[in-house]
């Protein structure tokens, strides 16, 4: 099924829901459930919080279906609601990393650590990213969105998504101990600006 065919099917389900057809909205969510869940899971790093965010978003979408403007794909609209639900939670600082980041960068990188430990550290480092950067890198690097599709979800220009991704990766490089100044004395200092670029 092509993207266009998939979106047509989504729109049909949305229209059916608005017309009062039982199960139509559940069917619509079911078509995207795993990817919506993946975005929330990667963004929040906590299965419980992710499940709550998806539920919040599902309810918002259910109640706000009539307000869908149709100027984006239905799946984009659904992902946008999930991302916003996740960012709301992240901004409220209600979500803490499951495992705190080490206070110092890991000088020798994470190669020596086992796969599980690496995953924990990476997830914790993700949780420390500014929310907008985290959303961008989750969509593009961890969920397989193109920069353009992520831009549609986040309602920002593609250049902003790209900037946020590179800034997020740079911060991850510092957090995970991959980045030090050439003389090895100090890591490259992170910038004071916590936001993403606008280019």
């Amino acid at each position: 099924m092509t993207d266009a065919e998939g979106d047509a099917a989504d729109r049909a389900l949305l229209q059916a829901h608005l017309a009062g057809e039982p199960h139509a909205f559940d069917d619509l969510l079911g078509r995207h459930r795993q990817r919506l869940w993946a975005v929330a899971y990667r963004t929040l790093g906590d299965p419980e919080e992710a499940a709550d965010a998806v539920q919040d978003a599902s309810l918002s979408a259910y109640r706000g279906a009539a307000g869908f403007r149709g100027d984006a794909q239905v799946s984009t609209w659904l992902h946008r609601i999930v991302v916003n639900a996740c960012l709301d939670r992240a901004r409220r600082a209600a979500v803490r990393p499951t495992v705190p980041l080490p206070e110092q960068p890991i000088a020798d990188g994470v190669d020596a650590l086992g796969r599980r430990e690496t995953a924990v550290l990476v997830q914790a480092a993700l949780a420390e990213l500014p929310a907008e950067q985290r959303a961008a890198v989750v969509l593009v690097d961890l969920t397989g969105f193109s920069v353009e599709d992520a831009a549609a979800v986040l309602e920002v220009p593609p250049g902003t998504v790209k900037s946020r991704c590179f800034r997020a990766r740079a911060r991850l490089a510092v957090s995970l101990g991959h980045l030090r100044n050439p003389d090895g004395a100090e890591p490259v200092p992170p910038a004071a600006d916590q936001g993403g670029g606008t280019s």
């Binding site: 559940d26 299965p47 709301d88 690496t118 995953a119 991850l172 490089a173 995970l176 490259v188 280019s199």
Partner: protein, 262 residues
Amino acid sequence: MTSTHSHADLDALADALAAASDGDPVPEDLLACATCGPQLDALRNALTAVADDLASLPPVPPAPAVPSLEPSLEPSLEPPKPSVSSTTVVPLDGRRRRWLLPAGGLAAAAALVVGGGLLLTHGSTDSGSASRAAASPSSLAISHSGTSYTKASLAAAVPQLLKGAPRQAAGLAGPKAPPSDEALATLATTKGLAACLAGLTGPGDESVPLAVDYATFDGQPALVVVLPSSRPSKLDVFVVGATCDQTEQDVLYYLHADRPTG
């Protein structure tokens, strides 16, 4: 981005690499910076390692089962009935409330005032299985604050809600003053409030509401209801509209909030 070469920060370096990935030239100020070239090279190499780390994350587990949002009859989705002695709420997936569950099979709720307390009786087609949630006078704060809540402000307001919102906090003999907005008049009656709370808690849910506040949400007349969650560290906060009753809760917003400590 800083214009001082020697102080090019991490974001500036990242932006330069982002531009370079599009084939754009590295900004001249970075090219002229003596330390920036090596820093860019180091960052470029580090990003490769980051990509490897991100790729090493284990796969996302399957999405958890979620309750139907549709008000349809799905017998297989009915929550298990707690035993008479049980005090644990067992909603659909172990922690979801009745308002996300199929509404079929419910009959009218009865609300009684007993000894100054609000007794919520969940009617059922099987009267013998009716369950109830009785709120003691000391446990439910009823307020008419008129607060203009929003999604952004609600979580921060939870601690105050539990203490009883500013203008009036009452015990449990029912709302003592009409809400400022007439739209909430039905919910301001003991019977109306009880029906709404019974709808939110659902049959078999014996948890006791902690607080309600007659207010607005995003400019719309709304009742904020705080309920204990099945997770001790959490609270279920419902924002319902004026038509909330046992069969249709008119949920405007739901928040799974952290329970305040201390």
